[in-house]
């Protein structure tokens, strides 16, 4: 019994330590809103849903081939996808090019983009409040909540810091903490603590 209580205490502690580390431009967990889900096709015609990435930290980037500042960020995102992919991280690009794949497909091939790209619609834009300026990038936590938003070009280190904070965050929105959650099922007092938001 002591062992179980110790484990519960450790898991609880990890959860709250994770919360407290989200500072700076990363929003406090209590203020994060769910990222609206969408289903869009990738270049191969496969449907990609944002919700498919639940459990991962996601960098959701709205961009276009004609957007100069977006060109600067894309190599960074290629690096992130390569360097963080084993840590349950993903980049997802949403192109807002009017002519869709006609412009986007050659661009993906030319730039050797290694992360999924979908072509967005006006509806997708409206889901996110109306994407009026590009690039616009959302950093989404493992629970599918928006932890940071950037409109316009920011530095690579800003993204890196935010991604690292979220990757280090032990609160995963319920995906990685199954042992703790199962424990909570048998201990209502722990449930009250763990799931209080």
């Amino acid at each position: 019994m002591k062992l179980v209580l110790a484990a519960i205490a450790i898991l609880s502690g990890l959860a709250f330590t994770g919360c407290s580390r989200t500072s700076g431009v990363v929003k406090a967990e209590s203020t994060r809103k769910m990222a609206p889900d969408f289903a869009l096709k990738d270049a191969a015609g496969k449907t990609v849903r944002l919700s498919d990435y639940r459990g991962d930290v996601v960098l959701l980037n709205f961009w276009a081939t004609w957007c100069g500042p977006c060109q600067i960020e894309i190599p960074w995102f290629i690096d992130f996808q390569k360097n963080y992919k084993d840590r349950k991280f993903a980049v997802l690009g949403v192109s807002m090019d009017d002519d869709g794949w006609k412009s986007v497909k050659p661009y993906i091939e030319q730039r050797k983009i290694n992360y999924p790209i979908v072509v967005g619609t006006e509806e997708t834009s409206q889901l996110y409040g109306g994407i009026d300026s590009l690039p616009t990038t959302f950093i989404i936590d493992r629970g599918g909540r928006i932890a940071a938003v950037h409109t316009g070009l920011v530095s690579k280190s800003v993204y890196q810091d935010e991604i690292n904070k979220l990757l280090d965050d032990k609160d995963d929105g319920g995906v990685l903490q199954e042992p703790a959650r199962r424990s909570a099922l048998v201990d209502p007092r722990l449930a009250a603590v763990l799931f209080a938001r």
């Binding site: 276009a64 300026s133 070009l153």
Partner: protein, 146 residues
Amino acid sequence: MLILASPLCFSQGNVLTIAAPPKVIAKAGATVEAKITAQLRPGYHCNSTTPSDDYLIPLKLTWTAAPLSVAEVVYPKPQMEKYAFSDKPLSVYTGDFDIVTKFNVPASAPPGPTVISAKLRYQACTDRMCLPPKTVDVSLPIEIVK
């Protein structure tokens, strides 16, 4: 579902506006020039009609000129400006600039007032972000005289 109004709801509208052009007197059987003055919001630039890269969207003025016909559209000389997002200077327009159009007026053009129209397509950016391409309607009042 519209959950992110505060960070993103900052619609820029048209950062490029067109000053109302004065009426042009067009003599039938002659050529006539009309000047369109575009005004870009400070801090913004738009690609020139000959952008530096293939991926950039050029500024373009397209007339529906009947009963006149377009002889030539003369765009201003672009500026070469360096921005944070580009390794090399870009061919752009900033501030106020004029686009001059030369029209042929047919000898058979019916005398009297008319309005011809154009669409100005542009794509604007600051040094950190870009707005989607937009099209502005242009109306030019004309008095055709014999």
